[in-house]
Symmetry: none
Subunit: 215 residues, 4 copies
């Protein structure tokens, strides 16, 4: 009856436009980080790569570091999502397969943008400690604790779950990262096998000492 009080919906309402702009900036930031490293990724270059003026950057981010942090945060979210997507599909698989799959998922996720991974790991100073990368580690750690708690039957009884999770998460993460960045002469499947073994054996309850066996 009365006219619509809200104007006709535009193709791009404010919030979407803003989100698109932020994304363009983050894309540009990521590009520049890859191409020039953190120091070389000047705000002017980022603005140019995003096709906007230098001043416009500052309508979306308070300073350069915030851009870099947001780029890394977005990357963390992508990592997180990619890993979660694949892992959640195999929740029903037996434990060792599940572990192997998780590691494979992480490795593949990291391998989507190896050049950016390198830029982040080797060129970018650790900015505000509240990055989502740490949250990612944290979250994986908690999942690991949960996993260990559920499977406590196959874990050696003297292990502290928190400690074990802390070690496992960082071990797996770092080896996967280094595998991609350093490209050692190790076959991909072999590598995944080995890292799976390292993870599983770490907490494996070993049978009573062999010397009992051969007295």
């Amino acid at each position: 009856m009365a006219q619509k009080s809200t104007p006709a919906p535009r193709r791009m309402p404010r919030q979407d436009r803003s989100r698109a702009m932020v994304d363009r900036i983050l894309d540009a930031g990521q590009e520049m980080l890859i191409a020039h490293g953190y120091d070389g990724a000047s705000t002017n270059r980022i603005a140019a790569a995003a096709g906007i003026s230098p001043g416009s950057l500052y309508q979306y981010f308070p300073n350069k570091d915030a851009i870099a942090a947001a780029v890394i945060d977005r990357y963390s979210d992508q990592l997180s999502a990619r890993v979660a997507a694949r892992v959640s599909e195999r929740l029903d698989q037996p434990a060792p397969h599940y572990v192997r799959e998780s590691i494979a998922a992480l490795l593949d996720a990291l391998d989507v943008h190896p050049d950016f991974l390198r830029a982040v790991m080797e060129q970018t100073p650790r900015l505000g400690s509240g990055s989502k990368l740490l949250a990612f580690e944290q979250r994986i750690g908690e999942l690991t604790v949960a996993y260990l708690t559920i499977n406590k039957g196959v874990v050696r009884p003297d292990a502290t779950f928190e400690t074990a999770a802390w070690m496992l998460v960082r071990m797996v993460e770092h080896l996967c990262v280094r595998y991609i960045l350093d490209q050692p002469a190790i076959d991909r499947d072999t590598f995944i096998d080995e890292i799976t073994v390292m993870a599983l054996n770490y907490l494996r309850p070993w049978p009573t000492p062999p010397e009992d066996c051969f007295p």
Copy 2:
């Protein structure tokens, strides 16, 4: 005896003077890296901290990156030496003790300058890839291969030594670094125990099937 034209024999011949100068610069560089991070460690600051003029830096190093690289190289050498010193004392110990000791040695060595470790790991871009840190990893890797070869009896037969060494070295190194930088709520001895377990179990041969034991 002393020649007449030269007033007195210099305590420091050219090469030694030069070496001493380089060391002062490296000390200054290390200080500035710790105090201000890579970006904040300007050549002017380094020169001032070394008590020389900015121009003189370039008599000893071609550019800023070379200074940082040299600082890190020297640190790698110190690490290397500290670890080697302690490890070589226990060459005769039984394998598990030896491994544990090596890990403890590394952890202690990294803990000598935790602030510099943080500066290098979190603030300093990876410079020329020829750093001695990689050489350190390389060397430890070779030692590990040797160790595995010697102890091949207690290693699961399907393992490739090179692969295993690559994984072990990076795992141990990274976990030790993160332990120092992140200070997780894990007791130091416990941590060393756990990392030792992870290393040893990784290659531990799954005992011949239990049914062999109880025929």
Copy 3:
């Protein structure tokens, strides 16, 4: 009576709305000038403080300087009004009392917004020379000329009224401003007494030589 198409008579016709808007902007401008000085009083800040968009400022003022000028003009008008109000009440008082009161009125008027007075005097460049502050001086000057003309009997005969007025006005104004801004260790009443003396004595005729008195 009321037309049908317009839902209800607006309380505020166009011109009044506009005037109200201008006042809000001037309030905001004054605030920002006080809080941040001229350079720190950015148009964005003023717009925000006025609760409008940056673009809307330019509906009412052609540029930033015009805002500052208008703020100062309004202040001049307020000063003017405050002084005039008090002075006009005492037009019947004897001359010295009248002068004293005028000075006191000015001092009080300046002391209503000492922080803004400081911002204007110490932080704000002199903008377009047509400011009302000069008009204020001009007007007071004319009043002074009139006053002198009326009281020419007690003024030394060699004085040019225009010159005397020019000097008196600037002297009184500046000393009052400095008194407020610098807060010297002078009692307020004493200060007013002194400035009154300075003004009155300036034009006081040197009495006919004493020897005329005692013949």
Copy 4:
């Protein structure tokens, strides 16, 4: 006997070179302040006007404000010196002549760079309060107190010297400044006469009220 330990004096030893450079910068800063006002006197412009690179400015001054402050300080010193030079020549003159001469000296000193005086007074925000301009006022104030103390015989007995000096100094200074900046239609000599009268009459001990004379 022994060789001179200090090397042969160069045409321009370090300190002199430095002083010359500082002077060039101050000249350039003064020019730019005059030509473009404080806001328009950018560091780049100053550097260009001084014929040096922008970076070189910062070897002599920590920031833009320091340059402006130094320019004003130097000007204050020049003012101070010019006034002092002329005043000290007439120390033996009778009081009223001495006062008149001092005022004339100040007026002439201010009139040497009227454009810069305008730039300072109308365009430049008050920077660090410790400027030499205030010291100049302070110093003149103290001299005035001394003068009044010496001549206390011809000063009305109820005057506080500190208060009187505060008022006199600011009155004289401001009127002279305004005279130069506003160029009122007042003859220079007349102006000096008037200001002298204002100063002298302010403290003049007036004879017993005239009404005693004509009962």
